[in-house]
Amino acid sequence: MAKTVLIVDDSESIREVVSFTLQNEGYDVLVGVDGEDALKFLDGRHIDIIITDLHMPNLDGLGFIRKIREIETYKHIPILFLTTESQTEKKMEAKEAGATGWIIKPFVPAKLLAAISRVIR
């Protein structure tokens, strides 16, 4: 069965690149334009991994993760940050919020896929 990935990013071009790359690899892709928008997908359906941006309007990446971790179904779902931030401090914050790992932008498709397949097999 195809794995389902939820992508959350306020940048359309990033969303498209990520979805394109993942769909090409046979993933099912759900797309949210910001944290708040993406919450609508967390309705109990099966999602294998969430990839989210950090800086977004309405509900930013950290807030989004905190919300996810409050939902029983998604308590243990892997969440990767896709971000240009590389500072330790930022990573710590993300981690505290409940993130599983992070991918630094810019990324090449291979790197993105590798990062995902490391978390879900």
Partner: protein, 704 residues
């Protein structure tokens, strides 16, 4: 990378939006410097440009925006305040960003110099700020991004050392979705590593819980990365594990026979390797994390729900074309049903007609875009110019939600920028002058758009020094545009500003440039069937009013016939249709006819369109048109009826001809030409001159 290339175009569009958003936020910030939401918005826009830039091969753009973003990151944290200086610096940076977005990484020598000097300006700014506050070295910060990005590439400098990592996950490690293999893979990417798994804690299969971690790890790695970088790998798990990272040796020793022996032994016995074993000195206890826990301000952001999607304008043009086709085909069907007295088809046709009308209205609606999209540039212009000239100007915009056809908006921007520039340069006085004139030192420019019937009206008014009609008059006399003793109303004098002869260089300086290029503005507006008028009161201010059609592609028209051709006149321009009997000799003279005691000039379209002269047998009808308060009679052969029509462009090759603004396809597939009524008034002027000069070469003049 070819996948990435496909998205470049999208990135450019998106960044243009981000830039607009940033400019808007900055303008608002200027009067509300503490507004956190606006700061967040600015930061986010920069952040997106930087991130996407690096993604899509705009490395220079990304690098540049990074500098800017860093400053705004400090602003968010509260260590740098928003100042007018910073906003001005940011605006100039935005211009640089626009350029980089356009040229990508292919900078010319000149661009490079500008690039460097902009970066210098940032550095200078940061330095200055550093005197009062502390922020991190931005350059180093950026290098870090590169480092992480190039994580798999070995470094040139020979700093390889051996590190022992002991990683003992807590049983609940797996609960936040961590897969330990992910971490080990990352380590493997950082150097040559030997990984040992100690699995003696694994219970019997029946007791095994899938979400519980039972394995301990030790990794011996030869790497050039620092301890901190290695630690970063575990950053997401360090609370859920016991982690020790220690330098064993300053060189790579994992191939050393003694070390191999230790590894072998550990594997066999299941007992962890000790540092003591591996090196002759002990190490200090593991450091605990030292990070300051700064709470990120919750990003409330602007309330911006995605309620629209981006569609390429080509697709919309295509849709509009197709829908127009459908409308035409449908009218052919109606014609067929009528001609064949087929009631069934007539009924069906009627339904299709309803549907296709709705479809057409919808399609046209899609091609309308709000004026808002261009307003940022206006605000920028007014702001920049007023700063430059040290004028204090309140720029108010009303009606930014008004929608217009995309083609109209595209052609509208330049004239509007021109008018606004005039308002700032020549309308609004300096603070001193204003005070001396008994006005508030702060000038006002109001941009107001509103719907008026089938038109959109845009008014640009200022409360500046206005225009002195006497001054214009004397200049016009000097220029030989009008006679010394010509009697002109104020309106007519101001109208002179739009004539091309008026705005020449010599006049510019004398008149402080007021009216410069207004002829160009008018011409440009005419190309989108718009019309500009000006009113001004000396000492009080000036108002320029622009009337525009809602859309260029559809009009309610009156179908008429002249010689063998069909023409369409916009219904909005038509006042009355008279029988040609009015044109009796006792009632008309020298192309002027008396209607209801009013003298109205008239023209014969046969003459204007260079058709054969009208003979006794030809029908003729007089149509009175009214454009911008001016009346004109036109003589056509026949009036066929009202007709709602899709106007198609004539294309580049026919742009330069005189009176036709487009063409429309009739139900039978033939073409009717759409007359540009405002240009007919020009024909009348020419007509006048001809009768005065008794010239016969009408054609020559028309082509001039």
């Amino acid at each position: 990378m070819e996948i990435i290339d496909q998205f470049k175009v999208k990135f450019i569009e998106e960044s243009t939006d981000n830039i607009n958003d940033l400019e808007e936020a900055l303008l608002l910030l200027e009067s509300d410097k503490e507004n956190k939401e606006l700061i967040e918005r600015s930061f986010r826009a920069m952040h997106s440009i930087k991130g996407g830039g690096a993604m899509f091969g705009f490395n220079k753009l990304s690098e540049f925006t990074h500098h800017l973003e860093s400053i705004y990151d400090s602003v968010r944290q509260g260590s740098i305040p928003i100042s007018t200086e910073l906003i001005t610096l940011t605006f100039s940076a935005i211009d640089q960003i626009k350029l980089l977005l356009k040229v990508g990484d292919n900078l010319s020598q000149e661009d490079l110099v500008n690039f460097d000097s902009s970066v210098k300006m940032f550095e200078h700014f940061i330095e200055k700020q550093n005197n009062t506050s502390t922020i991190t070295d931005e350059n180093d910060d950026y290098e870090e991004v590169e480092e992480v990005e190039n994580i798999t590439e070995p470094k040139n400098n020979n700093n390889e050392k051996t590190v022992l990592i002991s990683f003992v996950p807590n049983p609940d490690l797996l609960e936040n979705g961590t897969n330990p293999f992910f971490l080990l893979d990352d380590l493997n990417n950082m150097g040559r590593a030997i990984t040992l798994a100690f699995s003696n804690k694994i219970p019997n299969f029946v007791d095994l819980k899938p979400v519980v971690s039972y394995i301990n790890w030790q990794i011996l790695i030869c790497t050039e990365h620092t301890i901190n970088e290695l630690k970063d790998v575990f950053i997401f798990v360090e609370d859920d594990c016991e982690l020790h990272i220690d330098t064993i040796a300053d060189t790579c020793i994992i191939d050393h026979p003694e070390v191999k022996k230790i590894i072998q032994n550990a594997q066999n016995t299941g007992v962890l390797m000790t540092i003591k074993e591996l090196k002759n000195c002990t190490l200090s206890a593991t450091q605990t994390k030292t990070q300051g826990k700064k709470k990120l301000a919750v990003d409330s952001g602007k309330d911006h729900k995605i309620s629209s999607i981006r569609v390429s304008s080509n697709k919309i043009d295509e849709l509009v074309t197709l829908v127009s086709e459908l409308v035409i085909t449908q009218s052919q069907l109606t014609l067929y049903a009528e001609n064949n007295n087929d009631t069934t088809i007539a009924a069906i046709s009627e339904n299709i007609q309803k549907l296709s009308r709705q479809l057409r209205d919808n399609a046209f609606n899609i091609s309308l875009i709000p004026l808002q999209s261009e307003l940022m540039r206006f605000q920028r212009l007014v702001r920049d110019l007023s700063k430059e000239q040290d004028k204090d100007i309140d720029f108010t915009i009303e009606g930014s939600e008004i929608e217009l056809d995309k083609t109209i908006i595209e052609n509208l921007t330049d004239p509007l920028l021109h008018i606004l520039r005039n308002s700032v340069d020549h309308g609004i006085e300096t603070k001193k002058q204003r005070i001396a004139a008994g006005k508030s030192p702060k000038g006002n420019i109001i941009f107001k758009a509103f719907n008026s019937g089938a038109n959109v009206v845009i008014e640009i008014s200022d409360d500046g020094k206005g225009i002195d009609p006497e001054e214009i008059r004397s200049k016009a006399v000097y220029q030989g545009l009008i006679d010394q003793d010509a009697k002109l109303e104020k309106e007519e004098i101001l109208e002179l500003l739009f004539t091309s002869g008026f705005s020449t260089r010599t006049i510019v300086t004398d008149l402080s440039g007021r009216g410069v290029g207004l002829d160009v503005v008018r011409r440009k507006l005419e190309s989108i069937r718009g019309k500009a008028t000006i009113d001004s009161e000396k000492g009080k201010g000036t108002i320029i009013t622009i009337r525009l059609p809602l859309t260029l592609s559809i009009i309610d028209g009156l179908l008429i016939k002249v010689a063998n051709n069909h023409y369409v006149l916009p219904i909005s321009a038509i006042k009355t249709i008279y029988s040609a009997e009015l044109l009796r000799e006792d009632n008309s003279f020298n192309h002027v006819i008396t209607i209801d005691d009013e003298q109205v000039p008239y023209i014969d379209l046969r003459e204007i369109f260079q058709e054969n002269d009208r003979t006794e047998e030809d029908h003729s009808q007089l149509i009175l048109i009214k454009v911008e308060e001016r009346l004109l009679g036109i003589i056509a052969d026949d009036v066929i009826g009202e007709y709602q029509t899709v106007v198609k462009p004539l294309g580049r090759y026919l742009e330069k001809q005189g009176y036709i603004s487009g063409a429309s396809i009739l139900g039978d597939g033939t073409i009717a030409l759409v007359i540009d009524t405002s240009r007919l008034f020009n024909a009348r002027k020419i007509k006048k001159e001809i009768s005065q000069e008794k010239s016969t070469s009408l054609k020559k003049l028309l082509n001039a």
